[in-house]
């Protein structure tokens, strides 16, 4: 039995690794990705908004816990995000940019998430994992809690995408495997929703392909194509559609059998919003397998976030954030348990 703290560390490490691995593949087609890398398995650079916004969401939970409200979240945007935007708001998605514009106009939630056009963006789904960590084994509470955050910046399917991911992570934190995590995601959204329909389609496609297909090249290519056919919107140039990204990410978890590297590498091979797909797949499988489930060579590449998207979180490391969300026995007054990255690398050599 993997301890909750270990699952929390695996979850956020997996999220950060999936984000970083997928970043160069974002908005590429699967065939472009194949031509350039074959299978993209090695992290090339840093993570993006997925990791930094997840760190920010975790800080809200640490402060407000289960009492978190949309008003708390809106206040945090006003006090911690907006003042540090001195020029362009770099590295933010449409939903966050639209929310900041709405807040600047003096609007309050839920209008802040309704008045911009990108309510369905995956901006909440990409940062939903901390809510699942915070509610191990309780998908319903994780979904309720992430919605408090989501109401500020999303609406409709964007909120549902966050609920689905938080629920899947909460289930994984409680020991669920891939199928059970997907069931938890489905339990957190109405059956009559785009998210539920896409999750069911993606699950059916993976089930029809067989569990080992994600690892075999030709079969994996066929699965990629079938998943695109099932859930990808053809006539729209932006790829951050939550019902699409969440379905592709959880399909990757199923296709990879819940194993971190297999799931995340397959997830980013799908292209589209590859960094967010990788981040979600990494978070869910990292929670399933714990810190040691994340390949060591990936973990080595994850340092403190730079704050390039959210200056307020600069310098935070996801492992410290995980320890705050789900303290291990040693955290009861003791120092954080993050190994010294330099020491780790030295030992590796």
């Amino acid at each position: 039995m993997i301890p909750v703290n270990d699952r929390a560390r695996g979850c956020l490490l997996g999220l950060a690794a999936g984000d970083a691995l997928g970043a160069p593949a974002e908005n590429l087609t699967p065939s472009q990705i194949r031509r350039r890398w074959g299978r993209l398995t090695e992290i090339e650079g840093g993570g993006t908004d997925d990791t930094e916004y997840a760190v920010f969401a975790a800080s809200l939970l640490v402060r407000h816990g289960h009492a978190l409200t949309p008003a708390h979240v809106a206040a945090a945007y006003r006090e911690e995000i907006i003042p540090s935007i001195t020029g362009p708001m770099r590295g933010a998605g449409f939903s966050e940019l639209g929310t900041v514009e709405a807040l600047r106009r003096g609007l309050e939630p839920p209008l802040t998430g309704l008045v911009h056009q990108h309510g369905w963006s995956d901006g909440l789904a990409m940062r939903a994992a901390p809510y699942g960590i915070f509610c191990p084994g309780d998908p319903a509470e994780a979904a309720r809690l992430v919605e408090q955050d989501g109401i500020v910046s999303q609406s409709g399917e964007g909120v549902l995408g966050g609920r689905a991911v938080a629920a899947a992570v909460a289930a994984a934190m409680g020991g669920a495997g891939p199928e059970e995590a997907v069931r938890a995601a489905l339990s957190a959204v109405p059956a009559d929703s785009w998210t539920a329909r896409n999750l069911a389609r993606a699950r059916d496609v993976v089930a029809a392909s067989g569990p080992s297909d994600a690892a075999e090249n030709d079969a994996a290519d066929a699965l990629v194509e079938a998943l695109h056919e099932a859930v990808v919107v053809r006539h729209y140039p932006w790829t951050d559609i939550a019902p699409e990204a969440v379905a592709l990410a959880l399909a990757a978890v199923l296709a990879g059998g819940g194993e971190v590297e297999a799931s995340v590498t397959f997830g980013v091979s799908l292209g589209r919003d590859a960094d967010t797909i990788g981040a979600i797949a990494g978070a869910v499988t990292g929670a399933m397998r714990g810190e040691r489930g994340v390949p060591a060579r990936w973990a080595e590449r994850i340092g403190p976030v730079t704050g390039k998207c959210l200056p307020v979180v600069a310098g935070r490391h996801v492992l410290d954030v995980a320890d705050e969300l789900a303290p291990g026995p040693q955290e009861a007054g003791g120092p954080p348990s993050r190994p010294d990255p330099a020491g780790e690398r030295a030992r590796g050599r």
């Binding site: 639209g98 514009e101 839920p110 309704l114 008045v115 911009h116 056009q117 329909r197 729209y236």
Partner: protein, 338 residues
């Protein structure tokens, strides 16, 4: 008088459609693809050389008529709606699926894909990244002049604010055709726009901004500041275009000659806000109140989105549509249809 106002709604939409700058881009679809490629390359040249002389749609070795002032996408989709209004809506759209030559908004293109995959309404309009756009609001003008509910049509391609935009346009056009009153038309639209939706909130913000500015042209900067989404890349959101149309209709007292030019000045929304504004004010004032030169330039469809409509006279079509769907001949009173 109502037949006159029905023709005013259709002609007004076409005039507004023609008045917005994107009409020339849509109409350029009638030219050879290489001319549009050259346009894109000239755009890149302007960017590279930092010259502010921006390229415009042009007709090198091709007929210039498509680039004259004239109607484009919105007038054609309204005409298509009038022509197919007797067909169950999913069937009418399904007949378009797979036709590579037609052009449509993202909501419509996605809905056609959904229908092909067996995703029926309302999911076809809901499971749609542009469920919020105003494609159904444009088509709702056909339902509004008849006093009919546009929901079945709107749900094929839209949901949420996109559906509410259609309901609001139908309600406002219906009231304008019945009474000619801009104020009553705007009230009818507000009655179907809940305050806790983006479109309902924005409609009231836009009306306040326009009222404070005093006249339509004077309201342009205030509408831009209070309402417009300069973050997102496409300007056809019903939560923006419909509120602007309502606000400019109110501020102009239903005068198309004041309202449509103001809508065309909001460049982000110029693809459809002038058309919606033209439909509302055209319905208020009737065909005779629209400048004849604009009617003459805007009544013949170009076929830039639906090629089979090239050459169709929208005013004649409106007469046939009204006669067939109401059982009354054109030009006579159709009071009571609302």
């Amino acid at each position: 008088m109502s037949g006159e106002r029905i023709r005013g709604a259709f002609a007004g939409l076409a005039v507004g459609d023609a008045a917005g700058w994107p009409a020339a881009r849509h109409r350029a679809a009638l030219h050879a693809p290489w001319s549009r490629r050259l346009h894109r390359e000239l755009d890149a040249f302007a960017e590279e050389h930092r010259v502010t002389t921006l390229p415009v749609p042009f007709a090198l070795n091709q007929p210039v008529a498509p680039l004259a002032v004239g109607p484009s996408d919105d007038a054609e989709w309204l005409a298509w709606t009038a022509l197919t209004i007797g067909t169950p809506r999913a069937d009418a759209f399904r007949a378009l699926a797979g036709r590579a030559e037609i052009r449509a908004r993202i909501s419509v293109a996605t809905a056609l894909d959904n229908l092909t995959k067996g995703v029926e309404p309302p999911a076809s309009g809901h499971d749609n990244p542009h469920h919020f756009d105003d494609s159904a609001a444009v088509r709702a003008v056909a339902y509004g002049v008849l006093g009919r509910d546009p929901t079945q049509d709107a749900q094929v391609t839209n949901a949420g604010d996109g559906l509410l935009g259609a309901l609001a346009m139908a309600a406002a056009v219906s009231e304008a055709v019945a009474s000619g009153s801009a104020a009553s038309a705007v009230e009818a639209a507000l009655a179907v726009l809940p305050r806790d939706t983006a479109i309902g909130h924005n409609a009231r913000v836009a009306l306040d901004a326009a009222r404070a500015a005093g006249d339509p042209f004077g309201a342009v900067p205030a509408l831009d500041a209070a309402l417009l989404d300069h973050v997102y890349s496409y300007g056809v959101g019903a939560a923006h275009t419909v509120p602007v149309a309502l606000a400019l209709t109110a501020a102009s007292g239903g005068d198309l000659r004041a309202a449509v030019p103001a809508a065309a000045c909001l460049s982000t929304l110029a693809d459809s806000a002038p058309a919606l504004t033209g439909a509302l004010t055209g319905a208020c004032g009737g065909l005779a109140a629209i400048p004849p030169g604009w009617v003459a330039a805007s009544r013949t469809l170009a076929g830039c989105c639906l090629p089979e409509l090239a050459g169709t006279d929208l005013i004649e079509l409106t007469g046939r549509f009204t006669a067939e769907t109401t059982g009354e001949s054109t030009g006579v009173s159709t009071e009571g249809i609302a």
